[in-house]
Amino acid sequence: DTAVSQTPKYLVTQMGNDKSIKCEQNLGHDTMYWYKQDSKKFLKIMFSYNNKELIINETVPNRFSPKSPDKAHLNLHINSLELGDSAVYFCASSPSGTSGSSTGELFFGEGSRLTVL
């Protein structure tokens, strides 16, 4: 039973299109994230939700809009796709951290590879 699952795993689309990636976790965690991994393998945080509330919103174009309908789900919608959006997008979740930190151990989904042509 997959702990953090993302769909779709692969997405090939044309510039200018709109696409969504869905994520679900069955670990009972409070916090979920979107990370972007570029072609050089660098992992950068994009967004984080804690109990459906947005707590991290990095400098990301507003074409990217996350939505969390409940604490087990976090979706990412991307409008007007550009070539530079091609990357692997990882969803992750974590429990609330111990005192002094808001995050516990992070667990990742398998990633969604987006290719914009």
């Binding site: 660098f42 992992l43 991290i56 951290g97 808001s102 995050t103 151990e105 990742f108 990633g111």
Partner: protein
């Protein structure tokens, strides 16, 4: 924000060799993790180790929080150890898990 630096950036080993990967971080941390990204792109949790030492089979890790570094030891390396090893940290009181640039490991048969 916290900076996470990993070394070496690339490492080539002969099967059976041992290695040490290093992670330096610029701030005190409440959360330090090591991940392995395999050639299929999966991010696999290796250790959650804000401080102290842990071992899991051929892998072990040590974090010296007061000196702001963590080490990952791989003993008797195997070809299946190939991939990218990431260190990731959350600064004390912080919300974000920040990743280092990774160490790319290739183990030759």
């Amino acid at each position: 924000g916290i900076q996470v630096e990993q070394s070496p950036p690339d490492l080539i080993l002969q099967e059976g060799a041992n290695s040490t990967l290093r992670c330096n971080f610029s701030d005190s941390v409440n959360n330090l993790q090591w991940f392995h990204q395999n050639p299929w792109g999966q991010l696999i949790n290796l250790f959650y180790i804000p401080s102290g030492t842990k071992q899991n089979g051929r892998l072990s890790a040590t974090t010296v929080a007061t000196e702001r570094y963590s080490l990952l030891y791989i003993s008797s390396s195997q070809t299946t150890d190939s991939g990218v090893y990431f260190c990731a940290a959350v600064s004390t009181g912080g919300f974000k898990t920040i990743f280092g640039a990774g160490t790319r490991l290739f183990v030759k048969a």
